[in-house]
């Protein structure tokens, strides 16, 4: 497991070759995402934009997030409370361990999970086409800092 990368230039770079236009508003959203440590909601970015990028429209933020998600530059996650959030991620990794202390997302190597899913299919005849795994807990440094785990968590 490695810390998820800072996005930003990467987002901009990826946009270049994508056939979508590299616009100023999209740059602004990419920059805000790059500046974030952990997960964030659309509302977070909209709030930030109010100060740092006035004139950036609400709808534009949603549209940029949707675009980035479709390019797998950002992934949508559902926090335990049901809130929709996003994390920046490498294009090839698709699972995250999210720290409930600091909100940071860590990429998870999912080889073991792939095997588990394959076994499910083998045993039952269910043909798995997609899955979503979200892991919540405390990263090593939040544990060291004595941050408490979320209340109400069932043990994994």
């Amino acid at each position: 497991m490695t810390a998820a990368p800072q996005a930003g230039n990467e987002l901009v770079d990826a946009l270049e070759g994508s056939g979508y236009r590299l616009t100023e508003p999209r740059r602004a959203v990419a920059e805000m995402i790059a500046g974030r440590q952990g997960h964030f909601t659309a509302a977070d970015l909209i709030d930030e934009a109010r100060g740092r990028h006035p004139g950036l429209g609400r709808a534009t933020v949603f549209r940029a997030l949707e675009l980035f998600a479709s390019l797998n530059l950002v992934e949508r996650v559902d926090l335990p409370a049901g809130e929709h959030a996003y994390v920046a991620c490498e294009r090839t990794h698709h699972h995250h361990a999210i720290c409930t202390g600091c909100g940071r997302a860590f990429d998870v190597d999912d080889q073991g999970l792939v095997d588990v899913l394959a076994a499910i299919g083998r045993r039952s005849g269910f043909r798995v086409t997609t899955h979503r795994l979200e892991i919540f807990g405390l990263c090593a440094s939040c544990q060291a800092a004595g941050v408490q785990p979320m209340p109400g968590s069932r043990p994994a």
Copy 2:
């Protein structure tokens, strides 16, 4: 993997011993849930109630779902499109394979997954407190019936 049970009496029974009151509106919601095959949204139940249980209030449906979820009689799932839905489930199982053809939920034995999560913790020092796994695909009978998988699914 076994097909998730029909809830209903089970919901009512569980309510009995829970310290919460067994009311007519809660019965109505339990009955509607029992009559469902697959996943459903709050809006689905509210629509159904319009015909079958007039006078049942919108807020009451949300409150009943929240209560059932807190008792682990129903689980909230996030469909691939981000929609919030629910499935009836046994109190001890906590993962589902959801068929994108018929919407039914199947309980998944998660022993292998538990091992995978434990391995993640061991390797990285991340302390896992909660996780969410949602598996989407086609059940055996939908495959047999020739139902096509969802477009846009990344292979698991």
